[in-house]
Symmetry: C2
Subunit: 481 residues, 2 copies
């Protein structure tokens, strides 16, 4: 039997080479253990509803009515649904031709794109053009569409922060481009050093790589830091000098857990900088319904907004989007609801505010509980989660643990995370999946377990970590760094 | 100002080169005219709900309840929803961890994949393994995932029927592979000639292309033909001899409008052929909730099933799927409902059967109305739409029309379709978007306009066509072929 096109050895090499640690070895092992009956706490992926977060009521009422429009004629509908949800459902259905069962335009429903543009204008203080907003099946799909337009081959480089969310490394590999890393500085609260950035570009050029775009994740994933206005200005200046498209992954813009650095969009900073930059720097910004206090991951709704991208290029991106016909329509409705939620005076306003505040305040508490918990553990140090949904503690692994991992052919942090999983059921992602400096080890966990479960989880982590360190520390020679 | 990464001239060439006529020049012009207030009949894309088809009631009830699970505790829920919809919603929610707002496994919800496997077993008479079924955001996304695994570079060829659905040409171009055409024979009711297939492969090899996979679309798009068992056997034999993966686009399997050739899956024919083929031919089959009598295009639900693909390759496909986290969960629920609809004895069974039969019977009538209508027109010949949702008449354009088109720098069928659009509002897709033999011209239209609108639409077409032919025919020399 000769070998076949879909045998492993004949697959597209880029498919084989790409790695996506968030659902990699650790996740697969966790799934196995779950099948065997072990209780697993899936903190590998930012998936709030899977850990018990309840959906916001109003958007679910609206989407239920949109899915079952015949209810709108039912005399009993008012017994179950509030009047503002009914009105909003009618409004959305009026924006579609054929309801949720019809493909929309490949860029998304015009009416929803208009709502997104109005949201951006309210947020940034500058008008936004619905024709430059494309709705997507979640932010990841949008990122892939844009990277696909940019990457022409292995000598095209994309600057990506390290540690990074592996969507970027995986997509760049899949599309056959080159990832150009720039390091975030852990000791400076995961800040970005513009000199380091310059060096990264110089090194890439030396290797014959044309750097064409720069990714920022703000708030950071997995690092949780919020970029300051000063830092964003430097980045935009740098993109202008180096002629880079700026890709702003801003999916965690609602997830802020401190007050010193509120979220500010790359677009606002760019437009505030005025001419010539405001007309010259190309920027694509990404957002989603999966994060924030919505956490509607399973609905797959997102958008990207383009700034300073010429119409002919927008047309090409539109053409490629049209091959997949349209993003899922219910996800588009969620996006419309997220950017245009109930207003003061609406029947559902109080409930909406109560629910969303409750989630956000609890996330803020959990960010503290987790960071404090990690920092109370032996050989663990952790920056505070300023934003996003993750904690990214550094684990100072004793040399013996590193040796053991090497013998087993595993990265040391993979060994640590596997042992943690097996001992406690806590499913995390090793830092090596995100990138880290040589000889330094981390893990990423979400801050999403329920507030009431958090103390027990942190205690169980501490107990495991104590035992792990006890086992591998050389009590004579090894000192805590 | 120097040129930038997202300027047209710097985009990925594969992005620029790919074409997707279903939403191409004609669609864009139709959208413009609609904005200007013209009434447009969008028959360019198989989008039934956009042309007035009502969604089936039961699945919409179930999905509404899944979206609003708090309704399940509402004492009034029974006033609006039937008990079997409530039970089914509870069953689906029990299959998820976190409801519709949580990412599922990247292959889809295990419980739904099991329902799909059971459906395939009932349909084909052979067991199917849920581990080899991946749920997707519609069939197109599944096709792209598989082509991405197969195509390594420009010397990898994919056999595609011509005329074809341009998803294939566009995706192959985007992924940097080579399309190897094989022609369907219009005079033999769009049948497939195995000798022509052999010739196509030989020609491709001569050009240095390794043919690695073969696409069949059954029932055909845009051609509407249903493949016979004998034809399917030949195809499978051919794939075995030539070591090709067979990609079976079977999204129209419920859309059959004649009784001589009912739908039979490539998988059933393959397994019926026994050893060694049944264990050696690699097959990936695609399905969707967008077609059939469901027509739930906007929900973006689909699946692919793999046969004889080794576990190591399946793992790689799983890994790449995981980069996008999960297909949209509501679309997965629709897929579960489609493959496991109400059963005799269920409260909603009669309504479900009445609604689905009504749609299918009306589509059958419309298939006849449209074919007969086209065949009554001057210089138009059209094979009967045996299946799928399209009519693909040949338009015998007079030489003067071809000359005019050439002068305008347009393909002759593009000119014809543009004039048709401007005169009647009927938005079709020129045959050149699907591929056709040199010097032969077609258009594709869906058979989806409402039954009651069909006579007026066909009359309006006939009137336009008469005038067009009148204008361009040379009454002295030109004879109808």
């Amino acid at each position: 039997m000769s070998s076949k096109a879909l045998d492993y050895e004949n697959l597209n090499e880029n498919v084989k080479k790409c790695q996506y640690a968030v659902r990699g070895e650790l996740y697969l092992r966790a799934s196995e253990l779950q099948k065997e009956g072990k209780k697993i706490i899936f903190t590998n992926v930012g998936n709030p509803h899977a850990l018990g977060q309840k959906p916001l009521t109003f958007p679910r009422q609206v989407i239920a009515l949109c899915q079952a429009p015949f209810l709108l004629d039912d005399p009993n509908v008012g017994l179950i649904f509030p009047a503002d949800a009914i009105a909003r459902a009618k409004q959305f259905l009026g924006m579609t031709s054929g309801g949720l069962g019809a493909y929309s335009d490949s860029r998304g429903i015009p009416g929803v794109r208009k709502e997104v543009a109005e949201f951006i204008e309210r947020r940034d203080g500058y008008p936004s053009d619905p024709e430059l907003i494309f709705l997507t099946d979640g932010a990841s799909k949008g990122v892939m569409q844009i990277l696909n337009s940019i990457i022409r081959g292995p000598s095209d480089g994309i600057l990506v922060p390290v540690p990074q969310y592996p969507l970027y490394s995986a997509s760049i590999q899949l599309l056959g481009g080159s990832l150009v890393p720039y390091y975030l500085e852990e000791t400076a609260n995961w800040g970005l050093d513009i000199n380091d950035l310059r060096q990264s570009v110089a090194q890439a050029r030396y290797k014959g790589i044309t750097v064409r775009a720069m990714v920022i994740i703000n708030p950071g994933n997995p690092t949780g830091q919020c970029l300051s206005v000063a830092n964003l200005k430097q980045i935009i200046q740098f993109c202008h000098q180096e002629n880079l498209v700026l890709l702003g992954d801003e999916v965690y813009q609602q997830n802020i857990y401190q007050d010193e650095r509120p979220f500010i969009s790359a677009r606002k900073v760019l437009l505030d900088m005025g001419l010539p930059l405001s007309k010259e720097v190309q920027l694509v910004s990404f957002h989603t319904v999966s994060k924030g206090y919505w956490g509607e991951c399973g609905q797959r709704g997102g958008y990207f907004e383009m700034t300073n991208i010429p119409p002919k290029a927008v047309e090409e991106i539109y053409k490629v989007a049209s091959i997949s016909l349209s993003p899922n329509v219910p996800g588009q409705i969620f996006m419309g609801l997220m950017v245009n939620p109930p207003k003061p005076g609406d029947i559902s306003y109080d409930q909406y505010v109560r629910e969303s505040k409750g989630i956000l305040e609890s996330l803020r508490k959990r960010a503290h509980m987790m960071t404090d918990g990690f920092n109370s553990c032996r050989n663990v140090v952790c920056n505070f989660t300023e934003g996003a949904m993750y904690s990214f503690p550094q684990i100072r692994l004793p040399p013996k643990a590193i040796e053991t991992a090497n013998k087993l052919g595993k990265a040391p942090d993979v060994l640590y995370c596997l042992r943690l999983l097996e001992a406690t059921g806590i499913s995390t992602v090793p830092g090596s999946g995100f990138g880290q400096k040589e000889g330094v080890f981390h893990l990423r966990t979400t801050i999403l377990p329920a507030e009431e479960d958090m103390p027990a989880i942190m205690e169980s982590f501490k107990k495991f970590n104590d035992e792990f360190m006890e086992k591998y520390e050389d009590h004579k020679g090894y000192s805590r760094m």
